[in-house]
């Protein structure tokens, strides 16, 4: 089928597929377990806020309340570190990754389990369409979920520093959301492709992430991992925002201790390329798979 | 065997059984009815798995309200869906089920092998259930219901998913059940031919109410007023001769059969002479008998 025809079909074909996929992703039991885990830092953050809000010192400048810690430092600079650290575990790190693995399995593997893939393969829909639409639905749902979560968590954490603190560090939230989007574009397409080719996608995805992304990144040849490019972007943005971070904080050094961070624009570009190429690899797998 | 008096069962707004009254005799009984007619609800109530909203049920002479758990010692149940564990051997599973019913280990073992012998399971009984074919799985399902020697056996769709040979064998086994430890059989199925071959009595339930309860053999003996014929070569000539004789009656013709209304014995004579003069082969000629299909559709619709 020609590409032009696919584009023409997009407006009719995508909405029902998106509706179906997002419904399935959101009503999945495991999503709720993960969301509950994600909510835990929020709840605890709220608790922390109420307990310590009496201890902070505030000063009014130009009608805005600026909060300080008892040792006289800007409170929002303390809190932003907390936000980023916890986000690296939850919003863009481990939990988000579990969510990604789960989403990809629900989007692709479940079609094989439900045997609806057989029906799709006897219907006039191209494997690229099958794969891409599910992938895009997954990205949209995941990004909305995690973006929302990051925003809520950001507000809860920065609430201690008042409106001023929230506005002051808004760039950090933007960065986290940007990373969420790039993370999902890159990883979801790899996970989905793994789901097409392998019988036990959960295990393989996890092994891939652990051995390839976690252990390889921080080594000399880390440019072959997606994590490297993600870290490069975080590192670059943080330096631009005036944080005092070093490349080694994000493992962007080789064994000679030289900084090997990649330019953020190129990084973004590479992540997009990886995402698109795995679309093709995945749809190739769907079209060649027999029943 | 089972007496139900004014049984009502409601699931929230939905009424599954609506003032259901029946007296089921001993023997092999078939229960028919559309999906959601209340068949399985009735079976589950009779098993004591769920409670009726109101009404009284007596199973094997004992009131169900008082000892619904004790009564299960006398009842075997073969569910419709696949419900046997894969990671056990057939024998292991049956012994376990026997013990859960209250048999001691040695008796359960002896009984298991005896039943599997009757069901013609060979060495494969020592293999894992996951390697079994559909027919063998059905047999294990049947055997687990029989292992504690029940007086009454509920069979829910025992032949579904079986290929023709396995189905035939399963039906023969069910036919023999009455002889294995005098078991009465209550068979619920969607395949009407099964009821025809196996059962003594048939009960049709629709909309939670009893429609009919009758003897199967007498039901099927009834004949319709149509003769079905199948002929070979020269069928055109045969038909034209028939038409001359039967100009006032309507003859149904398809490329598979010809149907003529039955008036009296002369009808047969006309057909035979028509075939003789047209010199065509007369493959088949008989009055179509009432089948379970006709009766069922008549009752339910």
């Amino acid at each position: 089928m020609e590409i032009s025809k696919m584009f023409k079909r997009f407006p009719t074909l995508f909405p029902p597929i998106f509706k179906d996929c997002s419904y399935r992703l959101i009503t999945n039991k495991l999503t709720w377990v993960l969301v509950a885990i994600l909510m835990l830092p929020c709840a605890l953050g709220l608790l922390v806020y109420y307990e310590f809000s009496g201890d902070r010192i505030s000063e009014e400048v130009n009608g805005e309340k600026i909060y300080y810690t008892s040792s006289g430092e800007l409170l929002h600079e303390d809190l932003r570190v907390l936000f980023l650290e916890i986000s690296e575990y939850f919003g863009i790190g481990f939990i988000a990754l579990l969510l990604g693995i789960m989403f990809s399995s629900e989007l692709i593997s479940e079609e094989y389990n439900l045997k609806t893939m057989q029906i799709l393969r006897t219907s006039p829909i191209h494997p690229i369409e099958i794969f891409t639409y599910r992938y895009i639905s997954g990205i949209i749902t995941g990004v909305i979920l995690l973006g929302l979560y990051s925003t809520i968590f950001y507000i809860i954490v920065m609430m201690g520093a008042g409106i001023h603190g929230i506005l002051e560090e808004i760039g950090l939230l933007a960065l986290v959301i940007k990373i969420v989007i790039l993370n999902w574009i890159g990883f979801l397409s790899i996970f989905c492709a793994i789901n097409v080719y392998f019988e036990r996608p959960y295990l393989i995805c996890f092994i891939y992430w652990l051995f390839w992304e976690q252990i390889m990144s921080g080594q000399n040849y880390q440019q072959i991992t997606l994590t490297h490019y993600i870290n490069s972007i975080i590192y670059d943005s943080l330096t631009e925002m005036g944080w005092s971070v070093t490349a080694s904080d994000y493992g962007l050094v080789n064994s000679n201790n030289d900084t090997i961070a990649t330019d953020p624009l190129i990084s973004t570009f590479i992540i997009l390329i990886v995402g698109i190429s795995f679309i093709f690899i995945g749809s190739r797998g769907i079209s060649s798979k027999q029943f | 065997m089972i007496e139900a008096k004014n049984v009502i069962k409601k699931y929230g707004q939905v009424t599954a059984l609506d003032d259901f009254t029946v007296d089921i005799p001993k023997g092999k009984i078939g229960i028919l009815g559309p999906n959601g007619a209340g068949k399985s609800t009735f079976v589950k109530i009779a098993l004591g798995l769920i409670e009726s909203t109101s009404g009284e049920i007596t199973v094997l002479g004992e009131n169900l309200d008082k000892n619904s758990i004790e009564i299960r010692k006398k009842i075997g149940y073969m569910p419709e869906h696949d419900c046997i564990p894969n990671k056990m051997t057939g024998v292991e599973f049956l012994i376990e089920m026997g013990q859960v019913s209250g048999l001691d280990y040695q008796t359960a073992t002896q009984r298991t092998h005896e039943i599997l012998g009757h069901l013609r399971m060979g060495e494969e009984k020592y293999r894992l259930i996951e390697e079994y074919s559909g027919g063998m799985r059905q047999k294990i399902k049947l055997a687990q219901g029989l292992v504690h020697g029940p007086e009454l056996m509920f069979l829910d769709e025992p032949t579904s998913g079986l290929d023709p040979n396995a189905r035939q064998e399963m039906l023969e086994t069910i036919n023999g059940l009455a002889e294995i430890s005098n078991t009465n059989v209550l068979l619920s199925t969607h395949i009407l031919q099964d009821v025809e071959t196996v059962c003594d009595y048939v009960i049709i339930i629709n909309n939670g109410k009893l429609q009919i309860k009758e003897n199967v053999k007498e039901l099927v003996k009834r004949q319709t007023d149509t003769i079905q014929i199948r002929v070979g070569e020269n069928s055109d000539e045969f038909i034209s001769i028939l038409k001359q004789n039967n100009n006032k009656r309507n003859i149904e013709i398809t490329d598979r059969w010809i149907r003529i209304p039955y008036k009296n014995e002369e009808s047969f004579k006309e057909i035979i002479s028509a075939a003789a003069s047209a010199k065509c082969q007369l493959y088949e000629m008989e009055r179509i008998a009432m089948t379970m299909d006709n009766i069922y559709l008549e009752v339910v619709n």
Binding site: V48, E51, F52 | L49, I69, Y77, C83, I84, P85, V100
Partner: protein
Amino acid sequence: MKNDAKIADKFKDFKPNLSDRRNIILGMGLRGFEKLFSLKNKSILFLIGIVYLWTFAFYLLLGQDSYPCNTVSEELKTCTHLNFYGDLQYGGTRIFLVLIAAVASSGLIANDLTDKSIHLYLSRPISRIDYLIARIIPIFLLMLTITLIPNLVVFISQFSKSGLDVDFLSSNMWTLSNLILQAIFYSISYSIIGITFSAAINRESLASAGFFGTVYGVSLIVEIFYGLMSEMDIENSEYILLLSIIHFLDIISYKIFNVDYFVTIFGSPEVIEFPLSIIIGLYVLLFSSFILLVNYIISKMEVTK
């Protein structure tokens, strides 16, 4: 011999002699326990082996003298039997206990639910609660073998170290009974949690992952936040410890010994007090709701299929 020729009847009448419900349940439970111990379950045997090795290496070989533990001192090793359930770095086996409970209990009901054989069990002459009890027995017994027995061995070794002194026994009567009570408490609690997960998540591997992840993972997160909050000197921060089941159970087990609770994961021991009524009330509420949930799940299955 002429008259002895015989043809057997095709079918023999079978008059079953069925035992009552109590025996059936006990038999089911014991067979389930046997199965958990069979060679097929290599992972469980392996974990049990580790627990024993760990216990013996830690408490018998490395040894220590002061026993029992009446108050919490700086020296944690004096509280041997309580430490047994603590975190690894303090010599405890908590992670293994949770792991064994997760792995062993996950299949008990989940397998019956996946292959739907639960319908067959429920059509036997036992009630739903009977079935649940029969399914809890194996995991309960398994937990006893890894909570009670190692602790008893430690007790006996202490006893022999004291030179088989009868005074040691009489002065430690309460310790011994508390030890047994505590082991039973842990076993029954973890069994109920395991059964709940097994019934709620009806796939074996997911159930065990869910059990471990929820119980252990939540305890870690709670612990992190507790650390954070106590650093900030926030009042009543210890109440968030009740969010984690592990901590909750530990609190009760310390109550059994009439010892104040202290945190062990991350950071130095710290004494925390809770009112007894809150804890017992919460426990009863939590575990009865677990049992009701399982009962509800099974009863729902009965009706639908």
